[in-house]
Subunit: 328 residues, 2 copies
Amino acid sequence: MKALIIDNASGTPVMVPGTHDKPEPKPDELLVKVEATALNRADLLQKSGNYPVPEGASPILGLEMAGIVEEAGSEAHHFKAGNHVIGLLPGGGYAEYCVIRDDHAMAKPPSLSFEEAAAIPEVFLTAFQGLFWLGELFEDETVLIHAGASGVGSAAIQLAAQTSGTTIFTTAGTEAKLELCESLGADLAINYKEKDFADIIEDGNASSSVDVILDFVGAPYWHQNIRLLAMDGRLVHLGLLGGVQTDNLDLGKILKKRLTIRGSTLRNRTDEYKALLTKEFSDHFLENFEDGTLRPVIDSMYEWEEAEEAHQRMKHNENAGKIVLTGM
Amino acid sequence: MKALIIDNASGTPVMVPGTHDKPEPKPDELLVKVEATALNRADLLQKSGNYPVPEGASPILGLEMAGIVEEAGSEAHHFKAGNHVIGLLPGGGYAEYCVIRDDHAMAKPPSLSFEEAAAIPEVFLTAFQGLFWLGELFEDETVLIHAGASGVGSAAIQLAAQTSGTTIFTTAGTEAKLELCESLGADLAINYKEKDFADIIEDGNASSSVDVILDFVGAPYWHQNIRLLAMDGRLVHLGLLGGVQTDNLDLGKILKKRLTIRGSTLRNRTDEYKALLTKEFSDHFLENFEDGTLRPVIDSMYEWEEAEEAHQRMKHNENAGKIVLTGM
């Protein structure tokens, strides 16, 4: 079958079109004809050898896809041949065919194209996990979502906006991104390059007023995050793009405000965890893609042969929203 | 009625016998004849003016008691006059009578004396909250309980030992305390004054092997705690007796090990929270005091007129277990 492979001939790894054996579905898996896949930052790390491939996962890149079930294993009961599905993959999405556990697949929202739907799984499941499972966001709470124009950020803003009574603050670095965040449901989008986001939030509110913070930046925001958190506040780290090391940690604030600090990733979770996450997200939110109250934010689409160009766009942080590959 | 009052005449506050108006129970409260109360570290802080009295709480010290219901309010349905009860108080235990919300009271275990039973509420409810609600301890996990010979520590060891398959590490500072911890169910009690507890735990185990840590020490243990925590580990801070400020916080470890760090206190929780905590603890563990699988660890008992002496004992960290006042 067609597949994107990593070419290291020049010393710098690049994605090139090639071929690979077609995968065989296990009894609890579906074989899916991939119609579209989407890029994740982990793809760049894996390409350069800096992200170990989980045991048993495909060496082919690609952590999510939208496609058509070609064959269902004997123990796969949720979907059958011909169904249009989307889902998280442990790898293998950058190819003509992939396999996916039956309980990791979701029905593709019918009103979306395969290209649009391929942009849903990673960002929406990660945002759902972060906001609701780890952040335990309740109705009528205040949430701060950093990097609101990123894939996960844009999904998180929309999911928070679907939760009754939430007040949503977000940060982004350009006017276009700020506008995107507000169009997705943010009550206030703050340009972190121009202003101190913590000052802005405190100016219009009681201090220590944020119940849940989703952060991908890490160390540079640590002190402002802790300062903003309300009593019983929760800080969820899903990434540390700005740095990992911070000083002057004041445990007194954690104790007095009864804070919860959590770090997490999605990829290295168990299959059972991902199946439950997929089910809960589907049950609560999949239909929202039909009425348009949720939508994947697409930055750009590339033919699969142009995958390296797509990688360069992500590498240089030029994208706002997801980058999709199609035409495999 | 008789009550202990704070005498500031000498410039140094001391507890002295005195009198105070008898409290009036609200419809959802019980009026209780106090048979025994127990000391908490917060009492010392409150005596010296360093612990604000929660709104509406009695200015009299005393956060727990065992006694006999004298009168039940019209909306108090769990207990009636003549019942022997124990429970958490927002204050008021250092007196002949106190009031307690009906849903904050528990039946006194019949086989225990009032003096023994008065030592149960604060430490066992705090340990229960820390281990199960905040630490989410599951069966077959490994737990590290710091200050194992303290009131909360000794209760936590016993509660963890009642949880199937747990491995229990603990720290303490004298041979007598180490023996106490092991008699309560600790698998290994480590003298933190003689050895690095993290080295000892790692020596006999896989590194990063502790699922839940209950800590009262704070900053001095921070790096060792983070190092010991396993994947999905939980660090619960219930006190910071050793210091609040730490450096070189590595958020990367929090993310990679998917850690949860929590701080909490019990006293400033809502009445509803305390009622639910009381109910869950009672349902799960109160009967264990009957068969001796749980027992309050009593350091010493004092007549109420000797309260100041009892305070001095706690202030100088001379106690192992609870200090009880009786004879009001």
